[in-house]
């Protein structure tokens, strides 16, 4: 009975991890000065948004690459290529997760999003008044993401939320208009173990199989 429970819980864990796997060109969120949950600007404590451009390997270490747009009083400022610490404003805010457009981007579109964003790197690109959210010369964080996505034919947020009575577009509004990413099979949690024999997973011991070392498995499983 315990074994069956463990198998079910393992599958639930795999599915839950799979549902939020971070892919190149995903829209990622953190907090910021707009993050105070004023009833005026939405309920979620989101204040900053950027584009996850993938990972780089340097000296055997993996580094996240994030492209975002910030005022120049940040170091670095403007449209910049940074990693987790800078993106979360020196860890002053949490990482709230990744989203993508309701119409899922193709691999080609994802590559273009990153390519376009990477070509736009420059200081003094942030519009403090938010009256030019989507450029073409000055942006704010959320407008920058909209601009790049629209260049590849995707629209994270309906245009009426960006102008007229809908202005200004906020990270919370964009978050609500996008969806949690459902990754392609090559990015799923199970892909981490695909080269391993499933017979190594401990939860499957009852059917003659056990887990590879160091796969995150809840304590509740291992304690039983």
């Amino acid at each position: 009975m315990k074994d069956i429970k463990n198998i079910v819980l393992s599958l639930i864990l795999m599915c839950s991890v799979q549902a939020f796997s971070l892919e190149k060109a995903d829209i990622i969120y953190t907090g910021g000065v707009f993050g105070i949950p004023y009833d005026l600007i939405g309920e979620l404590p989101l204040g900053h948004v950027g584009i996850f451009a993938g990972t780089e390997k340097k000296n055997g270490k993996i580094k996240a690459v994030i492209i975002d747009c910030v005022p120049d009083y940040f170091r670095p400022g403007g449209i910049r290529k940074v990693s987790w610490k800078n993106f979360t404003h020196n860890l002053r805010y949490p990482y709230y997760g990744n989203r993508t457009t309701r119409k899922k981007p193709s691999t080609e579109q994802r590559n273009y999003v990153v390519k376009i964003a990477s070509k736009m790197l420059k200081p003094k690109a942030y519009n403090l008044m938010h009256d030019s959210q989507k450029g073409p010369k000055e942006f704010d964080c959320v407008g920058f993401v909209e601009y790049v996505y629209e260049k590849v034919g995707l629209n994270p947020t309906p245009d009426d939320q960006e102008k007229g009575m809908g202005w200004p577009l906020t990270p919370s509004e964009q978050f609500y208009n996008t969806v949690a990413n459902s990754p392609s099979p090559s990015h799923s949690y199970i892909s981490f173990v695909k080269k391993k024999d499933l017979s190594e997973i401990s939860s499957f011991k009852s059917i003659g199989i056990s887990a590879p070392n160091d796969i995150p498995i809840p304590d509740s499983f291992t304690n039983e």
Partner: protein
């Protein structure tokens, strides 16, 4: 002797009433301009100087229905650092709705409110160990859990490390990245070996490993 005692009591009552007038003025101003950080700091200073003023601030907090004001005032009360204030904030975290919970959680982290640890842990566990959880449907619960993990890191007690290890094993990638950030802030001897284990785990997601590598570099001063 009796006269001196009466005189001192009168001075105390007079100064308390002056503080009361002052805090009432600041509270009224904060209602109009809840994002004013100077006012928050001034309210915290008044409470620090005269701890009995906490009662006026707490009464106002409980009577208000304006989320912006509640968030600002709870931050001001937390900044005061008084034990009573910290305990009251910890209690409020569990009792409040999601819109207020977020800023109370943040305030507890910023003020390093150790009394809030249990409340923060229960928010995380309410999300993580709920068999019916769904990231999209329970997005506010998930954000509250993420905020709580952030606050636990800010508080930074050594005992938090064990909790975070437990949460790591039951979390999705987003929460695992946040746990790594919080572990970095704890700065206990156990952190670096744990982060090294995550970073070198080829079965772990690359985004998560990148967070671990970055925090290791920060800890090693690279």
């Amino acid at each position: 002797m009796r006269k001196i005692s009466i005189f001192l009591t009168a001075v105390f009552v007079f100064s308390a009433s002056l503080f009361a007038v002052e805090i009432e003025e600041k509270l009224s101003a904060l209602k109009i301009n809840p994002s004013n950080d100077v006012l928050k700091q001034q309210i915290a200073e008044i409470i620090k100087k005269n701890p009995s003023m906490i009662e006026i601030a707490l009464k106002d907090l409980h009577n208000s229905s304006d989320p912006s004001y509640i968030c600002s005032l709870s931050a001001a009360i937390s900044i005061s650092g008084l034990e009573k204030a910290q305990k009251e904030m910890a209690k409020m975290i569990l009792e409040s709705g999601s819109d207020i919970k977020s800023c109370l959680t943040r305030a507890s982290g910023e003020s390093k409110n150790t009394y809030a640890q249990d409340a923060l842990a229960s928010i995380v566990e309410d999300f993580l160990f709920n068999p019916d959880r769904s990231g999209e449907r329970d997005i506010k619960k998930k954000i509250a859990a993420i905020d709580s993990i952030w606050a636990l890191g800010e508080i930074g007690s050594a005992s938090t490390m064990k909790l975070l290890e437990k949460y790591y094993n039951a979390s999705d990638e987003i929460i695992r990245i946040n746990i790594i950030f919080s572990m970095y802030k704890i700065k206990s001897d156990k952190v670096l070996p744990y982060l090294n284990k995550i970073a070198s785990n080829e079965l772990e997601n690359e985004a998560v490993r990148s967070a671990a590598y970055e925090m290791i570099d920060e800890l090693e001063g690279k």
